[in-house]
Subunit: 322 residues, 2 copies
């Protein structure tokens, strides 16, 4: 069974560890958001690609969620002594190696797809990881500061530097209209037996992917084979700032609200919601979606496997053996 | 007393720690070789500027000579796991911060002079550090490999990657004819009371500086106020690979040979040689140079001060008080 997963960062990474326990990793293609990518101190940083890689490679810091286990921050701490404006973005010493490698690959004329494949191989990741595009797309957050001033921020500035403290008015993806899907991406979607929307932020993780010309229609064409996992449980995101971004897009902060959002865009066939949201079951069915209710908290790999199995079953509309 | 010093890396750093004990650091301008500069994994690395900065800032690893005290190599070791070709150049985790800072400053439109001043300020260096130029100059080593093949190497490839194991046939400074001296450099030389040639490699540390159009003639114009310290003691370099580079330039590997080389270029008024080379005294005087014989081994700051004092005295042709 060939599976394509649309993924953001940490939530996706957790989920994907389960997915590759349900289907052979070689049969999984992960399409990863690159709208959060940024250049820090001259280094090309791809936060979501790295999160997915570290989680699938088993080198993630499970407690903290982001970054690598056993990480240290000697370089970044040292950089703070320079008082440099970029040092709010904490780069771990081990993590730095990934960015140094990618930066050099890109400087040498390699594409992000190629660099991503090499990074994945170094960490023993057997699933295929694809950036949503090899072109530069940048998620910008338009917001209002506490003092009433208008802000236009790189997503990472909004999230990491300013702690999602500003009131968001709009999100846009600079450069996306000229971006092309990464090589092989559309084919993978077309040939997949199931397409999965990971429990990632709909506005800044999944939407940027769908905004790359060609991807939304490719996924919509497979709508009946698409299963998603709600990133909202009990009316709040399991992690991240979706609760502050969804309202700006007019989306209710609930499992039903996000399901409705995806359904309205024509990219969802089935929806996995958490047991605490069981009461929303009928509302979701009324959208024309299949529904599965599971304990969606992914505290360990076995839990991730349970959620991934539900996502596949809701995508296919049938129970999997085993 | 205003002093200008022409400097390479570690040998110069050691010497300069003594110099700023003899004259106030604010009165010292250090002109540093940038021919060894390179881009590693996208980062702008200036080995000699950093060595001088770390030594003057007191954060050097005195035992190892290069790099910072308490350094770790987590990023570089991690990078080796990628099998990337640039990982032969070991970047320490603390050292990386300097390169990240400089790379970002340059990417933001700052000059190397400006970035250098900021790095120096961060380490509390009160002497003025100037790169020889803000333009890109690259020292290339032409050599013959053990198998007889012709090589054309970046200096760092020759020295760090290949361990100076190839037979050198020529050294050249790519880009130097178009390079301009760093702002303020020629004025500093013209206004100095004394100019000092640090005990650095004549061929790949001092020569690149002198090769920047305008600098040789500016130093030559002050010839009678120039004092140098021999980097060759007892017929061998105290550190580095000068013994393998001097013959390619037709220079005898001795304190007299290097003194003669500088004198022939018209940039030397006095020469400090080590006590073990006392027998060369007359040969050096015959070149028309003043000579001072001292114990030139700089095992600690007091020893560096002794050598720096001698360099100033031989430059000025008079004893300093104290």
């Amino acid at each position: 069974m060939r599976v394509v997963a649309l993924a953001g960062g940490v939530g996706a990474g957790k989920f994907l560890r389960g997915l590759v326990r349900v289907v052979p990793p070689e049969d999984v293609t992960v399409i990863v958001n690159t709208g959060d990518d940024l250049v820090v101190h001259g280094l090309s940083v791809s936060p979501d690609l790295d999160s997915v890689t570290y989680w699938l490679g088993g080198v993630m810091d499970r407690e903290r969620g982001w970054g690598r286990a056993g990480e240290t921050f000697r370089s970044t701490e040292e950089l703070r002594a320079f008082g440099t404006p970029g040092s709010w973005f904490g780069l771990g010493d081990l993590d730095l190696a990934t960015h140094l490698f990618r930066t050099e690959e890109l400087a040498g004329g390699g594409t992000l797809s190629q660099a991503t494949a090499k990074v994945a191989a170094r960490f023993g990741v057997r699933a295929r990881l694809l950036p949503m595009t090899d072109d530069r797309v940048t998620t910008r957050v338009e917001a209002v500061a506490a003092d009433g001033g208008a802000l236009d921020l790189h997503f990472q500035e909004y999230w990491v530097q300013r702690g999602a403290s500003d009131e968001v008015t709009a999100v846009r993806f600079d450069g996306v209209t000229e971006a092309r899907p990464a090589p092989g991406l559309l084919e993978a979607v077309a040939e997949a037996d199931a397409v999965v929307l990971c429990p990632s932020n709909p506005i800044v993780s999944i939407d940027p992917i769908l905004a790359v010309p060609g991807i939304l229609s490719a996924v919509a064409a497979r709508r009946d084979r698409v299963g998603g996992v709600s990133p909202i449980v009990g009316g709040a995101p399991l992690r991240g700032m979706a609760d502050r971004l969804l309202p700006a897009a007019g989306v209710e902060v609930s499992a039903a609200g996000v399901g409705s959002y995806y359904a309205g865009r024509g990219v969802l066939g089935g929806w996995v919601i958490d047991e605490v949201d069981r009461a929303l079951d009928q509302r979701v069915r009324a959208l024309g979606l299949r529904v599965l209710v599971v304990d969606s908290i992914m505290a360990d790999d076995a839990a991730s496997e349970r959620v991934a199995r539900a996502a596949l079953e809701v995508a296919l509309g049938e129970r999997l053996p085993g």
